[in-house]
Amino acid sequence: MKFLCVECDRQMSFEERALPGDGTLAAVFRCPACGRVVAMLTNPMETQLVASLGVKIGGSTIESQPLEMIRSSVATGRETAFEEREPPSRSSAAPTWSPEAQDRLTRVPSFVRGMVKKIYTEYARDRGIEEITPALMDTARTELGLEGM
């Protein structure tokens, strides 16, 4: 999907997206010529259809995880389905998790927990952030388009 500023005859640029948490999605686009801003709002079914394609409106700054759609969308996953054996990164020290962030992570179903932890860790590491907090998780979730994580 693309947005055209009819008055300027210019393709509008993606600005930001928001996931209110109710299954809907908001994506903001701006005309690079006149600055006009429009928001595309998708209902839960439309949001789900986009998710099923494995794409993210606005793109993503981190690489997709193996079985990302399955792990983030299957509601009946087995707790012990996955065993993560990723070698520790040698590029820089892993960020720490605040107690509150750790607590929040424990509430994530174990079927998807390993992937969620890896995504937030990579997000923080890429930005030089030393501690992962619930606020950072919220920011990353919105920025990365991680509905439901």
Binding site: M1, K2, L4, V6, D9, R10, Q11, S13, F14, G23, N43, P44, M45, Q48, L49, S52, L53, G54, V55, K56, I57, G58, G59, S60, E63, Q65, P66, L67, E68, M69, I70, S73, V74, A75, T76, G77, R78, E79, T80, A81, F82, E83, E84, R85, E86, P87, F111, G114, G148
Partner: protein, 265 residues
């Protein structure tokens, strides 16, 4: 008055979302993963209950016993059985976890060294494959989610160098169509029927669909012969489609039957 504006394909400026590029990345990832697989064979029927999964598992084991590497992707996402058929632990023993390493899923290794992946390894005991999502109009997005799951099982599993990857399809034609689209070309097809006229008619439709897609048809296996099922579906279909009836598999098949079939693929 008609709207006089540029349309979708006229807009070619860079777009941060890059949805088409994201799809392209998915396709390249899948294609790269399949580069290490020498042959992909879809085991299909069009008819349920003819023993596709059983045949798939036993043929894969025969290939592995014959010294080649064999994998099984259980594409029957809603009725998975390959973990039961291929996992070493008999009965209700625990199923193995899938290891994730270096950005890929390592397939489980089952009897005779067959590598396999099945939603049976992913789902909680006795639970159906259910997706999170809006309750209303689930039929609109459910199929898309299943196709995406199949894509991930193809693209994210590190099969390694594999001589034959057997894909156990569910009854019907939909998954074969999805598989063909995802692979970029239809896989070779191994067809399973039982002797009955009902099976023959259903399998005929599947074979025609596979033919229409341009799939290579490897032959027919007539399963569950010599029992109460009457008919000549295997011979009829082989004659009609100019195929070889590769095997007539009795209720208590010998290992020799599977070894012969395995050597033919």
């Amino acid at each position: 008055m008609p709207l006089d504006i540029r349309t979708y394909h006229d807009l070619t400026e860079p777009d941060r979302s890059g949805l088409a590029e994201q799809i392209g990345v998915q396709r390249r990832r899948l294609a790269q993963r399949m580069e290490s697989v020498r042959r992909v064979v879809a085991v299909m029927s069009g008819k349920g209950g003819v023993g596709k999964s059983f045949v798939t598992a036993l043929v894969a084991r025969a290939i592995a016993r014959g010294g080649r590497t064999a994998g099984v992707l259980d594409a029957d996402l809603n009725g998975p059985t390959q973990a039961r058929l291929l996992w070493r632990e008999a009965g209700d023993g625990p199923r193995p976890p899938l290891t994730i390493r270096e950005g890929a899923v390592i397939p489980a290794v089952g009897i005779d060294g067959v590598r396999f992946v099945s939603t049976d390894l992913l789902l909680a005991d006795g639970q159906p494959l259910a997706f999170r999502g809006p309750d209303a109009d689930r039929f609109v997005w459910r199929g898309a989610m299943e196709a995406a799951a199949l894509r991930e099982l193809l693209a994210d599993v590190a099969w390694g160098t594999t001589d034959v990857l057997l894909i156990d399809l569910p009854p019907g034609l939909g998954r074969f169509e999805e598989l063909s689209d995802l692979l970029g070309a239809p896989p070779a097809v191994l067809t399973v029927t039982i002797p009955t006229i009902e099976s023959r008619d259903a399998v005929r439709r599947a074979l025609r669909a596979a033919t229409a897609r341009g799939a290579q048809l490897l032959g027919i296996i007539e399963n569950m012969t010599g029992g109460k099922f009457e008919g000549t579906a295997g011979e009829d279909l082989a004659r009609e489609f100019g195929l070889e009836l590769l095997a007539r598999v009795p209720w208590q098949p010998s290992q020799e039957i599977w070894d012969t079939l395995g050597s033919r693929l």
